[in-house]
Symmetry: C3
Amino acid sequence: MKTDHSKHQQTWVSNQWYVAAWDYEIDRTPLARTICNETIMLYRRFDRTIVALHDACPHRLLPLSMGIKEGDDIRCRYHGLLIDSHGVAKEMPLKNDTVNKRACVKTYHVVERHRLIWVWIGEQDKCDPDLIANFWPCSSEGWVFDGGYTPIACDYRLMIDNLMDLTHETYVHQNSIGQSELMETPINTRVEGNQVFVERWIPDIKAPPFWRDALKQDGKVDRWQICQFQIPNTIMIDVGVAPVGSGATLQKHDQGVRGFVIDAITPATKTTSHYFWGMARNFDLDDAGFTARFRKQQSGVFDEDVAVLEAQQRSIDANPNMKLKVFNIDEGGMKCRFIINKMIEGSPKQ
Amino acid sequence: MKTDHSKHQQTWVSNQWYVAAWDYEIDRTPLARTICNETIMLYRRFDRTIVALHDACPHRLLPLSMGIKEGDDIRCRYHGLLIDSHGVAKEMPLKNDTVNKRACVKTYHVVERHRLIWVWIGEQDKCDPDLIANFWPCSSEGWVFDGGYTPIACDYRLMIDNLMDLTHETYVHQNSIGQSELMETPINTRVEGNQVFVERWIPDIKAPPFWRDALKQDGKVDRWQICQFQIPNTIMIDVGVAPVGSGATLQKHDQGVRGFVIDAITPATKTTSHYFWGMARNFDLDDAGFTARFRKQQSGVFDEDVAVLEAQQRSIDANPNMKLKVFNIDEGGMKCRFIINKMIEGSPKQ
Amino acid sequence: MKTDHSKHQQTWVSNQWYVAAWDYEIDRTPLARTICNETIMLYRRFDRTIVALHDACPHRLLPLSMGIKEGDDIRCRYHGLLIDSHGVAKEMPLKNDTVNKRACVKTYHVVERHRLIWVWIGEQDKCDPDLIANFWPCSSEGWVFDGGYTPIACDYRLMIDNLMDLTHETYVHQNSIGQSELMETPINTRVEGNQVFVERWIPDIKAPPFWRDALKQDGKVDRWQICQFQIPNTIMIDVGVAPVGSGATLQKHDQGVRGFVIDAITPATKTTSHYFWGMARNFDLDDAGFTARFRKQQSGVFDEDVAVLEAQQRSIDANPNMKLKVFNIDEGGMKCRFIINKMIEGSPKQ
């Protein structure tokens, strides 16, 4: 695989949905966040719908996120240009001046779904809500979902490589969740359209403590780990165990206890990213303490990844002539990058 | 208006005087300051005249401002080359060596006037003291003047835009001096040679508290605000009130109480500037407490501008393809930029 | 002399030995250090021999210095690729995978000599241990040697200029070791192959306190200072005194007390360097207190140089059109740079 070190080539796919925030991050006060090199601000209207506007006043470019909210509108902090929540100027700095109709702010299509806020990056008239990644466990009955946000100073694709290969757990996470026995089970990698799956089925084992506690019964189990990459940048990892003989298969496994590790890694710039992570589960639904403890643990595990990925990014920058090599374990990440690269070639430039 | 994002084009006018410091900042110890991309150091001779030299030893480029003062001369801290206050080498590192006459330091014409230190940037043989901005209230009988210095991380022209438009007071300074009634009075903008005026005459109003205290009488007043831009980078804002019927006009208004807000914004680099600000007044001349309190207040007001202008600069940098728009309120700043751009085209490159 | 401000031209000689560390800095835990723009890590095997490897895993470029030592091998912290101390992969992330023979890490020839660790930068097959600078006083019977390490943010050649001219002591070190009488003695500069010597012989003087204490007798002495530059970046300064009439000459002077100031300045990048410094002496050999005090003093003196050289580098960067001038005192440094430049032209590009 060839890592492109060109400073000019785009590294993400346009005309796609990118997670911009958690639902709980957005309220009536604007949040400023750079998504795919675009400075964007987000806030909620009174009716709780979400606004995503380019974060620069069309007049003198002051970030609108520094402005003063007036109902659903925002007034620029510099000269008082009033912009409504559709990006249209309503009032000039001098109130009697005729409103300059060219003084518009770019708006982004935005959807709140699966507890996350998705922004359409690319041609706004090509926007298609059906393309939002199917994070169904995050918003389905019988499931509970929580998670957090971590900024990370690396190319978002390094995190995709990381998540599509679970062998790194042994070393990166040797002080937390690393388990060398996982390494002994073969994995299967396959592509379905623009999705990549890395699957592992571990039959007839003693349940590890975490899963025994979730299952609340002893005895041998079948265990699975299924990483699912969806264009442009999301990964769901389906994990769980079911009692041996309960009929669970790699394809269908609702018999036991199940969780989904949820990941969306949104490019901020070429070498910085927003990492949204969490876990959805179908057990201990009312145990808020479990939710809080697991979120804390997951945050600690991802901090271990952040340390490694930021060091990797620095090393890539320091060795511009070196290319990343591909081993067997990288098959999943490589297939994701292949799809990403193919779509970048076919996608409009920002 | 088109904002030039070229990295190579000069953004200031050469062959002009730029304020390098306040008079009280310069003494016998050198002060190092970058003016229009040139590293300059300033100090006073025993006779209190001021020296402005390029701040790099002609030998190995160590900043001379790190050197050792010997009378009016300065000895480089590295090898001891002795430079006199006219930039000429007097003594080599080895005292018996013949003085190398090519070892000269560039000197800058420098003038102390109106309480400020002005340095000529450009061709030194074209220097003309008559071109110094006429800050007469800063050095006339019957007036008192004081002020301060604030470094600011933005293109100096953003501050000129800011000062030539007083509508921003309503929002930027809403917690300090903002007054929305000012917005209701029309302004007049006019150009006189290389000067730009933005004027506002507010007749027959109740004096605001600040001016009533200055005037020391009740009753209706006429009020004025006149911004005067002088090439290359200075602005004086003539403000005050006079009792109705005292004969004050927009053109002549010595009947009441009057102040001048004084501003000089000197480029350090393309995106950093030195902001020298103050106020001259013709009332309460002996009230040192007023001077101190006003200076403190003015500093706080300008800190509000700094926060906005630095955010504006960052947004301009983050959005290289966006241009600043011009509304009616920007007419003053736009006319200043027009004159600046015209003179840059005609001025020698540094 | 013309200072080359080109960003692309190499400023150091390839196919040479560069000091990477003190012997006491290297043990079984890897030390990461950038040498001539190459990220290198060093550690000792069980048998105390030293390993120098490129500090990037051939798989995904994570710095190997973050890895886990297993005997003499190192396992990458990311996916567990196991690399032996010759840079050859021994075990893949999945232990049963066939070892990828292209997954090799660049190794550097490394030699421990004269208490320092020398790494060969350039074509590894051209490596020649005979080219290591002859720091004989650092490893000879009858001598004791100690020193330290200081990172410095300047082009390594600025430090060579500094060390090859001892007149700067008067000013840079006026608060420590500066002595103006040294300036009155003429120096002689000569070139021998790729070595440059700057010599000063001061006959028949009262010994300064430091040397009187070392000599342990009163009376007149002859004193010498001989700076010796050896390609690519080392300097030894032979200093000492001998009683008048003891037969000491500039060429041969073992009659009194003698020390060598030892300097190696290794480029990290074009504008950052590693400074290894110390002193070897042939007197008070068993006085550990002398060693400790002198090391402390020497560290303080070099901190004075660091302040000046880093300011010089910043001034060079701020004045890209200015050239360093050459005075008589710079003859030594100029001759070193002449040899360096000539060898850079003839040396392979990295």
